[in-house]
């Protein structure tokens, strides 16, 4: 058994089309240990979802892998043949829930018929006899209970369910086979606060019940990441700018971008006392067809120095909390 559930080495993924070459993920390395929930945060256009698509082994047509390796539980997913990738990795070890996946339920089928279809695809056998059906239904009912859904949901049509229920159902269906790794992309962005809380609790339940082992959770919402994740990565313009323990990253961000990002979100403490005004980050993310030289954040950075404009900063690890940031400020501090 491989030591890490997921290893990503110097991953590069570019979109190629008539619009040019977009450097959406450009040299990302990370390791995910077993039993850890890792959050990936950042603005839209930062490459979070592209990273998830690459790691899941199902990049859309225009996205091309340009270099690097993705190793899921010891299997290099881009060097094995597609059939093995499908049967060994996607069906057993890893599950990927893309953005807006709750719309993927079949609108003209009851949920249970949809589940029979999925079971038929996975096992290669059609679910036809009533014994088989009730067996599958029992299994499914048991499973969706961990996500806070009742058995009656299986007899409904998708339009009879709320957004939060549909989202949890999709997650339930994609974790029917106890995948070791769940990659989940913005599951809460279309939900209101109450269903968002239920969603996060459901994901934690899945982990507690031992159905999934590790999770890669992608969201721009730092506040919900904080509730769920143990580790965190902050991405900007296709690169990792900061990595470390979730709590340390929020309480004491190292990279200027992370500092600005947290200042844009929190204005109240737990007792409802106003702490400070919200500030937005000036400017907008760069056009990744022609990314800025040096540090990619330098055009928006308030602490910009000359070296930032020409040379790319290395990832420097801080003394505490497993944290690291790729910033020249850090590099010069540790040099002294």
């Amino acid at each position: 058994m491989a030591k890490h559930i997921l290893e990503v080495e110097d991953l590069r993924g570019y979109y190629r089309g008539t619009f040019g070459v977009v450097h959406a993920v450009d040299g990302v390395s990370l390791t995910l240990d077993r039993g850890v929930i890792m959050g990936i945060a950042g603005e839209s256009g930062g490459g979070k979802s592209t990273l998830a698509q690459l790691v899941s082994g199902s990049p859309p047509p225009l996205l091309h892998l340009e270099g690097g390796r993705v190793i899921v539980d010891g299997i290099d997913i881009y060097s094995v043949d597609p059939e093995e990738l499908r049967t060994e990795v996607k069906c057993k070890r890893m599950s990927y829930v893309p953005q807006a996946s709750m719309e993927s339920l079949n609108p003209v089928k009851r949920i249970r018929d949809f589940i029979f279809d999925v079971v038929a695809q996975r096992t290669g056998k059609r679910v036809s006899s009533s014994e088989q059906k009730s067996e599958v239904l029992d299994m499914a009912a048991n499973h969706i209970k961990t996500l806070g859904l009742e058995r009656a949901v299986l007899d409904r049509y998708p339009h009879e369910l709320s957004g939060g229920m549909k989202q949890r159902l999709v997650i339930a269906i994609s974790t029917l086979w106890n995948p070791k790794l769940l990659i989940i992309d913005e599951p809460t962005s279309a939900l209101d606060v109450t269903s968002q809380k239920r969603m996060i609790e459901a994901l934690l339940n899945l982990k507690r019940a031992g159905i999934i082992e590790s999770m890669l959770y992608i969201s721009h919402d730092l506040t919900s990441l904080r509730q769920l994740c143990g580790q965190c990565i902050i991405m900007y313009a296709g690169k990792i700018v900061e990595t470390g323990d979730m709590d340390a990253t929020i309480d004491d961000p190292l990279h200027p971008y992370s500092r600005l990002l947290t200042a844009a979100i929190a204005s109240y403490d737990s007792k409802g006392k106003r702490q400070r005004d919200l500030k937005s980050i000036p400017g907008s993310p760069p056009d990744l067809r022609d990314p800025p030289t040096g540090c990619r954040f330098h055009p928006r950075c308030p602490y910009v120095m000359d070296i930032c404009k020409t040379k790319e900063p290395p990832m420097v690890m801080a003394a505490k909390g497993n944290c690291g940031a790729s910033c020249w400020l850090m590099a010069s501090e540790s040099g002294k």
């Binding site: 709320s162 606060v193 109450t194 934690l204 506040t223 990002l261 844009a264 737990s270 409802g272 907008s284």
Partner: protein, 273 residues
Amino acid sequence: MEDKQKTVDTGIVLECEDLTKLYTSGLIRTKTVVGARNVTFDIKRGEIISLAGESGSGKSTVGKMILRLIKPTSGDIALNGRSIFSYDIREYYRQVQAVFQDPYSAFNPFYKVDHLLDRAFGLREDNLDRDERSKIIQSTLESIGLNPCEVLGRYPHELSGGQMQRLLIGRSLLIGSRLLIADEPTSMIDASTRASVLNLLLSLKKDKGLSVLFITHDIGQAQYISERVLVMKQGEVVEQGPVDEVFTRPKHPYTKELLAAVPSLYQKWDECA
């Protein structure tokens, strides 16, 4: 405190009384769904008032009734003391404008953003020539904190969500509206630019005396932006009052539940720890 006194003096812009909307479906076996029931509130000049609640609680129904997009089943809405249905529709929209959730679908992708701003002049009473129009557009953009040369002449897909949403707010200022219905204006845009929209609404309230009905499910934003808040559940207002009071000492159990569901950046929920 002085600030709040001032808003009382300048009077009430919009008044809703016993606003009720029932949606009925079916001819024989009629089914009724309550969109809103007995909603009573007012908005004063230069005041931001929040309407909070979960999805399906009737927040947007109230917004749409004020915008005359749907007809209330019963109850009155008065703008400046006159029933909104007595206004000519053009005259009404000169005073009341809206910003919706999705800025990406509010723009026509085939036209540059100038087109949208130019079209807004159609609602104005005065007939301006091109130079005057572009002068007004320039000054309005500057007043909402957008650099005209960064925005004008661009296509919608070249702008960020925050810029688009601010442009739409700017558009309603061009028309000269006094009341803005903001229906979840920040839920689809990035957290990093969300603050720019909220801060813009706050500064317009202060400088221009704009009244805003801010519809949101995010209690944190309601707390940040408004003086008064109404909490809705299943079409009814369950609690209303000054923001600080409602959120620090909630009386209704639903408000408590809603507050407990808001994740905080600096604190973990007990069950997650």
